[in-house]
Symmetry: C2
Subunit: 187 residues, 2 copies
Amino acid sequence: MLLLTEIEKVIPVPKEMEEAIRKKFTELHCLKTERLQQAGKIARNLFFIEKGLARIFYHNHTGKDVTYGFYTESDFVTVPESFYTQSASKYSMEMLEDGLVYSISYKDLKQLLSNFPQMQHLENKTLQSFLLKASERIVALQFQTASQRYNSLMKKQPSIIMRAPLGAIASYLGITQETLSRIRNRK
Amino acid sequence: MLLLTEIEKVIPVPKEMEEAIRKKFTELHCLKTERLQQAGKIARNLFFIEKGLARIFYHNHTGKDVTYGFYTESDFVTVPESFYTQSASKYSMEMLEDGLVYSISYKDLKQLLSNFPQMQHLENKTLQSFLLKASERIVALQFQTASQRYNSLMKKQPSIIMRAPLGAIASYLGITQETLSRIRNRK
DNA sequence: GTTTTCTTTTGATATGGATCAAAAAGTGAT
DNA sequence: ATCACTTTTTGATCCATATCAAAAGAAAAC
């Protein structure tokens, strides 16, 4: 179980904690295109991807669908600003492949955290890694060209490029499908 | 003291905690252009801006100076990925005005957090607000035009526009000085 | 006040990427 | 296989923004 392995990387997991985790996280078999989060609704759950690929996206002012991020094996995912404040999300989340994810509700997570305070450390780490990724994106979007960003993505998450549809990747990079297609087919 | 007021917004601050906070946070009178953080060094301190304006910036591959973010009254600031992992920072931080900031070292913060575990909540909240801001930046950089981004900044942090030099604002928005100057002087 | 230095503005030109349109390739259902 | 639908590629044109260069304005130093 990847989930436990990942947690153990951050904090020691005694037997009782392991059991509590197994109890609170629900196994979810998901199909491609399945929505794990709807824009306008509160993000009630934190997910962990055991297998598969998901993306968070939103519709911008012109109605175009823009990918905020991709998430895959070993990633925790949620819409943080919705989940942590339990307020409506501006983003949706969908599976891009069939997969297996573990899900825990906000309430259950809070309970787990109060029963096992060491787990706060995990929450912190997760937030930190969200933030780190976000910072990198900002830096990339600020002053790199489209193809530099494409190349970085290819280095950092090559599987995304193989697995996600071109349109979703393009909007993630801040460019149109057409431009991405052209970038691919030269050099 | 703004620092305490801000903390009280998130958690109750009993007398002993207040005293501990006053003891651990050092008052720092800063001059314009002063560096509170150097790229290449570990971010040893978390700062709270009581008065003044600061920015975090980095030098990109072409050697150009790019503003990552602006921070002003009531803001906590540090280079999170350096501070939380105590590893070398890619970013520098400088004051853009004379000001007053409170500073706490990583070690002292950890100690404060273990003496007053409720403060973990504060750390979490701070991380969340860093993340929220970062998400908004990404969305803006992904698919808004330069002048849309300028207008949003004007709405959200009008004081930045009055107080920061144009070059620093331009790179923050992901555009050149010249373009920003032109955006300003039309419409 | 004059000189030096830094910051902002203005101008001319070049270019990366958007947009619109349509063809080609791929995927799925019947 | 065939038809309908989705995704990707290719082409032509246009525009926002970069780049390079230099003038104008403001702030700091003498």
